[in-house]
Symmetry: C2
């Protein structure tokens, strides 16, 4: 059942918040031994919150009764925030993070905390990809993406510093939204890099994401219809300048572009490949430099850190200010060029990851295709729907401008509905 | 009549959009010869828009029937965007800027375009300060601030790159809100510096600003009451490290701080003076470098530019990348420190300008006290209410975190209501 269907059923009284919670808890009980998406399921608190919603007369929030999972970098009052690290103890958070409060105010019911990689970097937790348990779910929003894609919950919160939401959404087959930097308060969220950290959420479809965006951040003016009659104009970016994009992924992108073109959309090839490469490199530098300062306390106990995180932090510590400055400059000057490009088109469409989720759960795959866009801080929607011959999900990403999210959701919905659910053919290079 | 009172009267049918428009037009006719706040008043379009609102059955937007002025850097369909420069011709804009569309969707009625300084920089237009016609209204949102402060319209849009909204609000005695960078789409807004440009609005009181924020950007969850019982914690920043703050302004700040303390608030002195100075300098460098690239086309006709803008653009053109990089680095590293400081307090309270509006209309005063905060891109509220012995307005600014705007509005409202309307005493150094 989609989030919108569940919400409608809750509103008409066909179902209740309590029974939505019980269904989520039953799904967790059934799937958790395989998927391992949860750090902490707070059944008691969820049941109490549902009962409380049922007792209140008066206006109901837009997410009334919807069960939600919260990535374990985000504070939930009464539960510890373990950040996927042994360095964090069992002391419960005193307050909800602002984004959790926002969810509660909208009527959502918090089910528990979902697995994150270590401090949002690479070291995986125990979560497995629901499409194939031998494959990684991606990271760092691993548990949120897996729980949503497995149909256990209709909505989960994630965060993104590099590709921490877009990649697991693509790998698991969930729809994902990365909010533009600065949209939501990050109060109560453990960050990695203050120039790059942002909040987002995962759901079953783009239409569900749009519903949640409207619930949490929508401007309450009338719906804008003024853009919808204009032709969709999209820049097609194949991602190949940043890594080896699989043939299946290239074919998935091709299908979306062809469908857009055949329904009157204008599709133009992206030509600024150097710019994107420079942005991706600048992103990695900014992240290392800032993470070393943000997580300086953790470096005091290096034996408790993974080798990868230790390497990121020591790289950042050793980085010269000059290099960091140059990276910031690259981001700032590239922003002007991308803003100008996006003045004449609506969005950039590209692959959400280099390919389907790699086999193995000891690594979470590459975030490289998110780096350039995360550096700019623009809104990004991961569009699910396509699968390879092994039925592994392949996500696309649609990148737009801050403040133009409605237009972005409308184009992503159009693309999502144009994708055929039949698996793409097998290619010889696999 | 406040915006909220007008809105209530419109809703109950005590007044109509058409009569709200007629009153605004009559006020303009009465005051415009003195104040000169408008570049273009489109009476015909405003009357037609009001009539159209009255004919529509169905849901009414939150700003239904409210007359609004639009700063002349922002596109309004059918009117030219002259940007306070002879370089821009009379061709009308084809589309509304996104923010104008947002206003129309919320039910607002566009009255016309208000005077801006040349491309949002220093060269003043003809506008005069309604508190004393021999004094500058400040810039660059000169017309918007003057029209609101004179009581001609309840709401106007402005923009800010340095102190373009905060300073005129303070000088004219209006309440002003500078939205965090990235909140609103800037599509259709002529910018000066893409890392610093942002949108904002002016109204008669902080409560009116909060009403407009709710109308344009509010999350529709239930109102958050969870923070309101916590004591207000404010960092007091006297601004003296950046310029000569007048004794009257220092005394205005002191009054606000004393009142906060006496109602249970915690007020702590800001101690990071070097940080603020570095941020202000970095802001000026980023602005010059980016403006030179953003307005490169205008430099082809230097004889049509003011000396000040020409100097900004040539300074920016001559600036080394290295210097620009260092400025960006200062902003990024300062952000981490300020985020940490604001983790334990709610907001920073300081003077909105160095003092009351200076005499003369050939210069618009100094934006220096806005530079550090605009570099960070945080939300800022200008709180009106205090006046010096000559009855010239003195504004305070309250700076908070992106995404925590409700808390910021609530504290600013509390401060505003604590200020006594009696003029401050005259000081001997004047």
């Amino acid at each position: 059942m989609s989030l919108r269907e569940l919400s409608a059923a809750l509103r008409t009284g066909e179902t209740t918040p309590s029974s939505a919670v019980e269904i989520a808890l039953a799904c967790i009980a059934e799937t958790e031994a395989d998927i391992r998406a949860w750090v902490h399921v707070d059944a008691e608190a969820a049941r109490a919150a549902a009962r409380e919603l049922e007792l209140v007369d008066g206006p109901r929030g837009p997410l009334w009764g919807i069960p939600v999972g919260i990535k374990d970098l985000i504070d939930v009052s009464g539960l510890p925030t373990r950040c996927g690290s042994s360095l964090r103890g069992a002391e419960p958070a005193q307050d909800d993070a602002d984004c959790v409060r926002l969810l509660r105010e909208a009527g959502a019911v918090i089910i528990g905390k979902t697995v994150t990689t270590e401090f949002g970097y690479f070291k995986p937790g125990p979560t497995r990809n629901p499409a194939n348990l031998q494959h990684t779910p991606g990271g760092s929003s691993s548990g949120s993406a897996a729980a949503v894609a497995a149909g256990v919950i209709p909505l989960a919160l994630g965060t993104q510093t590099a590709g921490s939401l877009t990649r697991p959404a693509s790998f698991c087959g969930a729809a994902g939204f990365v909010a533009p930097i600065g949209t939501f308060s990050l109060h109560g969220v453990t960050g990695l890099s203050h120039s790059l950290d942002t909040l987002g959420f995962l759901a079953h479809s783009v239409a569900d994401l749009h519903f949640v965006w409207n619930a949490l951040a929508k401007r309450p003016g009338r719906d804008s219809g003024s853009d919808s009659d204009k032709p969709t104009r999209v820049l097609l970016w194949n991602g190949s300048g940043l890594g080896d994009v699989s043939t299946e992924m290239a074919c998935a992108l091709e299908q979306a572009a062809t469908n857009l073109g055949s329904t009157g959309g204008h599709v133009t090839e992206w030509s600024e490949h150097d710019l994107i490469k420079q942005l991706a490199e600048a992103h990695a530098d900014v992240m290392a430099y800032e993470a070393a300062r943000e997580r300086a306390a953790e470096l005091d106990r290096p034996e408790e850190l993974s080798g990868q995180l230790r390497e990121l932090l020591t790289t950042g510590l050793r980085m010269t200010e000059k290099k960091y400055e140059a990276a910031l400059q690259t981001v700032a000057s590239s922003r002007r060029i991308v803003l100008a490009l996006l003045d004449s088109v609506d969005a950039v469409l590209g692959p959400a990851a280099l390919g389907a989720a790699p086999a193995g759960i000891e690594a979470t795959g590459s975030p490289v295709l998110s780096r350039p866009w995360q550096a700019l801080g623009f809104p990004v929607i991961t569009i699910p729907g396509l699968r390879d011959a092994d039925r592994m999900p392949l996500g696309l990403q649609l990148i737009g401008l801050p403040g133009r999210e409605d237009r972005l959701f409308s184009i992503a919905t159009k693309i999502e509905s144009s994708l055929t659910p039949t698996p793409l053919p097998t290619f010889s290079n696999r």
